[in-house]
Assembly symmetry: C2
Homo-oligomer: 197 residues x 2
């Protein structure tokens, strides 16, 4: 039977997204079978990461330096700021390697149900950054959900006074997507935004 | 973007059963957002568990003591030994709380394909234990797979000289199971092993 230390690891593993009590137990068994090859390195790597991770004070990204590697990189275009909900979205855009500007992580979306108001999001910092002379465009890359779009509207309003250009991601048919499986909203948007070939 | 420490954690998390690269990334983001509440405690708990876990030299179970809590427990019946493939099976039987004897973990199954031979399993220790005067019955609780049943046959042969009674788990309809969804093998076994009501 599992003793105190094992129970504690399983209890914590079960809190990770994608793992429940059952899969946490399987993960624990796997860890115990590979104590030297997996359990000890994972404990060390987690401790090292917990020590070294910083939140970038400029953009809100996670990195081991502050400012983060993206904010420090002189090859990134300082005139473009892409606003995202959280750090996972930064990673997604970086994987696509489609954006060469800088980011701003606002840390969530406005949500009356969850009690998230404007004061809970890092919008003030964004307005300050957007007012800097080198910034010409802010791209709102919130998720295409009701809360995400509400938040995008709110941010666009807040940026109105800065004179910066504000844009948002295009809606449309996903690359590789089949029309038959798309929802009506996406099809309507894709039709509206059609362009000549 | 993820730096060295973060990459290392994600790489190791992705090796856990049930987690792939994508869910490891989600888990990493979650850990970073809950650094103090989850990441640091998980690192500590893993390190503590890695230090304290022992393999029971009697039965092969994992515990923080050797002999394990089950082998040490005077309330467990010493005349019954339940033979299982791995520690996960001990946990499953303990959760069911249906067995009051002791265990023997042989650490796998015979498998020609995977190159697992009798010398890779802890059968010698089982034969020694079964020959002890207090032991009257050995229950073979291998999985109902071809390899599991081959292994059970082999162990039954090895135990033949000890004079101990050897039994195996009953096959039949799982509790709550519907006949329509059961395979032919299970139905045949359940019919053969029918008993009067």
């Amino acid at each position: 039977m599992a003793a105190g230390d094992l129970d504690r690891v399983m209890h914590l593993l079960a809190k990770l997204p994608g793992l429940g009590p059952r899969s946490a137990r399987r993960a624990m068994l796997h860890l115990m079978q590979k104590r030297e090859a997996l359990m000890v390195p994972l404990a060390d790597a987690l401790a090292a990461a917990a020590r070294s991770i910083r939140t970038c004070s400029t953009c809100g990204n996670f990195d081991t330096t502050d400012p983060c590697a993206i904010c420090q990189d002189p090859r990134r275009d300082p005139s473009l700021i892409c606003v995202v909900e959280d750090v996972g979205d930064v990673w997604a855009l970086e994987r696509a390697a489609a954006f060469k500007g800088r980011y701003h992580v606002i840390g969530g979306v406005l949500s009356a149900l969850d009690g998230v108001g404007p004061e809970d999001l890092k919008v003030d910092g964004l307005v300050t950054r957007a007012a800097m002379p080198e910034v010409t465009e802010v791209i709102l890359a919130m998720n295409a959900t009701v809360d995400g779009q509400t938040t995008a509207h709110y941010i666009a309003d807040r940026l109105a006074g800065t004179g910066v250009a504000v844009s948002r991601l295009a809606h449309g048919v996903p690359v590789g997507g089949e029309l038959d499986f798309l929802d009506d909203g996406t099809l309507t948007q894709a039709l509206k935004a059609r362009h000549s070939v």
